[in-house]
Assembly symmetry: C2
């Protein structure tokens, strides 16, 4: 799970084994054949092919299953890309039909997710970005403090929150400057500490 071409967009042979995906890598492409995956860690962005390129269509975070539609159609509906480094494992690889209870749970989780992602597109720029980081770190539900979040590319943040890249750049530095966020590193090594993200929730 890494000997693949380094070009993110070269659709290599469909992945079939568990493994790590680097930030920015395409996990699978819409319309390709393949199976479902569980996200063991990291965050994934889902896009729908549209008339003008790929369009943001959803997100998956640690614990979620992506590509479940392949159990029905055999092909992926969306394109999946890793926002931060991800660990994936095949889910339901044997095509054994998952139980109704399980599927109902996934359905409910998907609807919850929808609500959260939708909320990332309302409010002021600072709010949106902060909520995205919270969402990516698992919100307040985690016990572990001070988790470091590796930032996705600004372009991804921009498309998810429906802001421009420039605004996102300015917003992050601003949040860092006023102490709302603790930003460390630059470029591909940029992180924010979850602790400070949590802290805002008063």
């Amino acid at each position: 799970m890494k000997g693949e071409s380094s070009k993110p967009d070269k659709a290599g042979p469909a992945r079939t084994k568990a493994g790590t995906i680097a930030r920015g890598q395409t996990i699978y492409k819409a319309d390709a054949e393949g199976g479902a995956w569980r996200v063991l860690s990291g965050t994934v962005r889902l896009d729908q092919p549209g008339p003008d390129g790929l369009q943001f269509a959803g997100m998956a975070v640690t614990g979620d299953v992506i590509g479940a539609e392949t159990l029905l159609f055999g092909r992926y509906t969306f394109t999946a890309r890793a926002l931060s480094a991800c660990v994936l494992e095949p889910w339901c690889a044997d095509r054994a039909e998952p139980s109704g209870q399980l599927l109902l749970g996934m359905l409910a989780a998907t609807e919850e997710r929808m609500a959260e992602v939708l909320a990332l597109r309302s409010g002021k720029a600072g709010e949106r970005v902060r909520r995205l980081f919270e969402f990516m770190t698992g919100g307040l539900t985690r016990g572990g403090r001070a988790a470091k979040l590796a930032l996705p590319r600004l372009k991804d943040i921009a498309e998810i929150t429906d802001l421009s890249v420039e605004t996102v750049s300015r917003t992050i530095s601003h949040l860092g400057a006023e102490g709302t966020l603790e930003v460390s590193g630059r470029y591909r090594a940029r992180h924010v500490t979850a602790e400070s993200v949590f802290g805002v929730r008063s």
Copy 2:
């Protein structure tokens, strides 16, 4: 299914029979007990109770099932309100477990829906409103031309598209004036004809 209190927010006894819901009526409230429903016609808005009131969390259109999470939890996760007049019928009322295939289909449909609703929050005001109307009339997939769409309250349109009520009001008159949309009636009797909505898609 109508002898209930006319106050939309008085949570009467849980609905158990098929019937029509008027525009603006609350179908069920988050946390209440009840079952799942299939939307035979009309559109529904789903909201999540948040710190500052209800927050827009999703939509359901003709053919969708709402409240499926009750099969798992027994209670509704969201509050559902009719955007336009709706006809509903109980779904899976006997609590018989629906088949895996069916649930997978619903899961896929929900993800598709998520992508569409998300798209309603990007682009310029005119785009958003127009796409919402398209979405509510079933997009381009319907054969029947010239279907009339009863408009939801401007406040609902505003919250769905993340615009202000004033902007929505101005946008609709503007779209009507320039011929992009055919608007008829005023206030609660306002409609747009789907034909012209379709027409725009060049």
